[in-house]
Symmetry: C2
Subunit: 346 residues, 2 copies
DNA sequence: GAACTTCGTCGAAGCGTTTCGACGAAGCGG
DNA sequence: CCGCTTCGTCGAAACGCTTCGACGAAGTTC
C-alpha cells in the first residue's frame, strides 16, 4: 500500500502538496498537479480512509438505517436504497446500510458516537421514534424518510399520504363506487404509532366523508391469512361493498385469494386498489393491480441530497417535502357491475 | 466528545493503560481497571472509530456486498442479512451493507483499497465473478454466499442445490407424479452464468433421469408474465404434466394465475413446488405453496463466522459448506388426480 | 518603486488510538 | 537472599492523513 509519503517523494513535492491536489483546498499549479497525479497513478495510490477520517474529522460515510423485519424489503424500499446510493455517490459519499432494528438502540448509540457516520437517513420512522433522540444526542445530522409526530424541527421526505388516498378514492368514486372499504395495517401497528397507517386512516375518513360516503376501515394482519380475515370482516361490516382499497401489501394477496374463493371476480364484482405499491408487486397479482406507485428512488435521492447539502453547505436549513404516489391503472379496477354509476349528489 | 486522554487524566493513569483496559491486550489490575471504567462511564466515553482504525490497521467493519436490482430483496435475502448482522455483532464487528451493483466495479475497488473493510461477504455470486478478483487484488479477505465456478481456493457457504432438487423431485415422485416440469430463471440469467440456475438445471436433469423420467426445463423471465408464458411453453412441451417445480419465485405467481385461468386447480390437477423460498412468500399464494425453505439466516451467520474466524484466528483456513433447503409441505402438492400412481418400474 | 496582495509550496503540528520497549515491584526456586 | 520470570504500568513512537502558519516569488496599485 502506497502512502502519501511515497507519492510525495516520487513527485518530489511535500506531503501537504499532495494533500492539496487531492482535496483541492488550496491552489496548485498545473505542472505540480500533473507530477503528483502521475506519481499517484504509477504507485496505484489510494488514500487511507481511516487516516483521512481521523485528520479531517469526517468519514464521508452516510448511513441508511433500515429496520429489517422478517418479511423482507419490498421493491419500494429497495428503490429508496438505490436512489439514495446513487445520490450519495454523486455527492462523493459512501452509503452504507445498517440493519439496526428497533431493539438494539445501544448498537445505534455506539455507531453514532463513534463518529463513523457523517450523517444518517432514517427509514421506517415511527411517530415517536427513539432513534431520533439517540442520534440528536450524539450530534449526528439526520434526515427522515417518513415523519415523526412533531415535524417542526427535523428534515424529512415523506409520501404525501393525504393526496395519495384522495387520488385513490377519487379514482374509485369516479368509476361509480360508493361502498369502499379501506384495509389498513394491523391494529397493533396502528397502536404502535406507525405514521403511514395513521395518516392514511385519517385521510381515508376525510376523503370519503368529503364525497358524502361512509368510511369503513378494517385493520389486517400483515399476512395472506390476515387479508382473508379482513375481507370477511369487510363483508360483515359492509355487505354491499364494491371496492377495496388496501394499504397492506402483504394482506392484499389474501384478499384476492379470498375474493376468488367466494366466486367473486376482480374487477367485475369487486375493484381493488393497492396503495404505495411498486409496479413489480402490482404485476405479481392476477389480474395486475391498479395501484398507487410510490416515488421510491426519488425519496431516497432527495433525502441524501438534503443531507449532503446540510453537511457541505454552511447553512443548516431544514428540508421538508412530501411526494404523492402516482395512480397507475391496471386490471383490478372497473365500474361496479350491478349498480350503474348512480350520479347521486355530484 | 471525551477522548482517551480525558479518561486517563480523570482516572489518574496513563493513556496506554486506558487502551489496555479497552482492548485487553495486556494484564491490568482489578483496581486500575475499575478506576478506568468509572472514568469512562462518568465521561460517557466512546472510542473514536477512525483513530482506532488508523492505529490498529483494522476497522472492525465487515461488508456485505449485495447487488440490488429492481425487484427488491426477498425474505430469503433478508434472512441472510439479519443472520449475518447478528453474527457480526456477536463477534464484535459492525456489518454494513453495500449496495454495489454489478456495474460499479470501480466503486468496489475504491472501497476495498481504502482499507475501510476488514473483510467482505459476497452475495449473489456469479460463476465468473469479477468482484472476487477485485477484492483479492486489494487483499481483502472474503467469503462467498454462493460459489464461483472454480471453488477450490475460496471460502464459501451455499445452498446444496443438488440435494434440494433431489428432495423436491422425490417428494413429487413419491406422490405419484411422472411428468414434472422445472421452471428455471430466464435464458439470459442462465447464459450469464448464474450458479443457482445452472446447478439446479443439472441437478434436475440428474434427478429425473435417476427416476427414469424425462426432464423438461423451461426458462422463465422473472415476472408474472414470464411465469404465464412459461406455463404455456410447459404445456406445449409436456401436455400431460401434473407437476411444476419452480425456481423462479417471481414467475411462480404468474404460473398460479395462468393455471387458475385455464380452469386447472392446484393441487388437484397440477401440483406446484417452489424452490428456495421463504415461508412468508409461500404463504402469500393461494393455496399456500409447498416449498423448499432456504436456510437463510444460517447462511448469513455461517458466512460471518467463517470470516471473523479467519480474521481473528491465526490459521488461514478455508471454509466450504453446503446447506440444503428443507421441504415444507403446504397446500400446493397432492397426488395427481386422473392418473393414479402407476407403479412403473420401481 | 514601495507597499500590498495573491499564488504556490513547504514544514510541522495535530487527529485519537494502538503498541512497543522499558522498568520497578512482586513472587519464586534453590 | 540472589538472580529469574511475570505482572502492571508508563512514555513515546507510530498510523496516514489534513490543515495552519510561514514565506519567497510574482503581480497590482498608486
Amino acid at each position: 500500500m502506497a502512502t502519501m509519503h511515497d507519492v510525495a517523494r516520487l513527485a518530489q513535492v511535500s506531503v501537504s502538496t499532495v494533500s492539496y491536489v487531492l482535496t483541492g483546498t488550496r491552489p496548485i499549479s498545473q505542472a505540480t498537479r500533473n507530477k503528483v497525479l502521475a506519481a499517484m497513478a504509477q504507485l496505484d495510490y489510494q488514500p487511507n480512509a481511516m487516516a483521512r477520517g481521523l485528520a479531517s474529522r469526517r468519514s464521508r460515510i452516510l448511513g441508511l438505517l433500515m429496520p429489517m423485519d422478517e418479511r423482507g424489503l419490498g421493491a419500494t424500499e429497495t428503490a429508496f436504497v438505490t436512489g439514495a446510493a446513487a445520490a450519495a455517490s454523486v455527492a462523493g459519499y459512501h452509503l452504507v446500510l445498517s440493519p439496526v432494528g428497533g431493539g438494539n438502540l445501544d448498537d445505534l448509540r455506539r455507531l453514532a458516537s463513534q463518529r463513523m457516520l457523517d450523517g444518517v437517513v432514517l427509514m421506517e420512522v415511527q411517530l415517536a421514534d427513539e432513534r431520533v433522540t439517540v442520534l440528536q444526542e450524539a450530534g449526528v445530522p439526520l434526515v427522515l424518510i417518513g415523519r415523526t409526530g412533531d415535524t417542526s424541527t427535523l428534515s424529512y421526505v415523506d409520501i404525501d399520504f393525504d393526496q395519495t388516498v384522495r387520488d385513490a378514492v377519487a379514482h374509485l368514486v369516479g368509476l361509480g363506487h360508493r361502498r369502499i372499504v379501506y384495509v389498513n395495517h394491523s391494529a397493533a401497528t396502528l397502536a404502535s404509532g406507525y405514521g403511514p397507517a395513521l395518516r392514511t386512516r385519517d385521510a381515508f375518513t376525510a376523503s370519503m366523508t368529503g364525497h358524502g360516503l361512509e368510511p369503513v376501515m378494517i385493520a389486517a394482519e400483515d399476512s395472506a391469512a390476515g387479508g382473508r380475515a379482513a375481507l370477511a370482516a369487510a363483508f360483515a361490516q359492509a355487505p354491499e361493498l364494491t371496492a377495496v382499497l388496501a394499504m397492506n401489501e402483504t394482506a392484499i394477496f389474501g384478499i384476492l385469494g379470498e375474493l376468488t374463493g367466494r366466486g367473486l371476480s376482480v374487477p367485475d364484482d369487486v375493484s381493488v386498489v393497492s396503495m404505495v405499491t411498486s409496479p413489480q408487486v402490482a404485476e405479481l397479482a392476477t389480474p395486475a393491480l391498479t395501484a398507487m406507485t410510490s416515488p421510491g428512488s426519488a425519496l431516497g435521492r432527495i433525502a441524501i441530497e438534503a443531507l449532503t447539502r446540510h453537511l457541505d453547505g454552511p447553512a443548516d436549513l431544514r428540508h421538508q417535502q412530501l411526494l404523492p404516489c402516482a395512480l397507475e391503472i391496471r386490471g383490478s379496477t372497473a365500474a361496479p357491475r350491478s349498480r350503474q354509476p348512480m350520479g347521486a349528489d355530484q
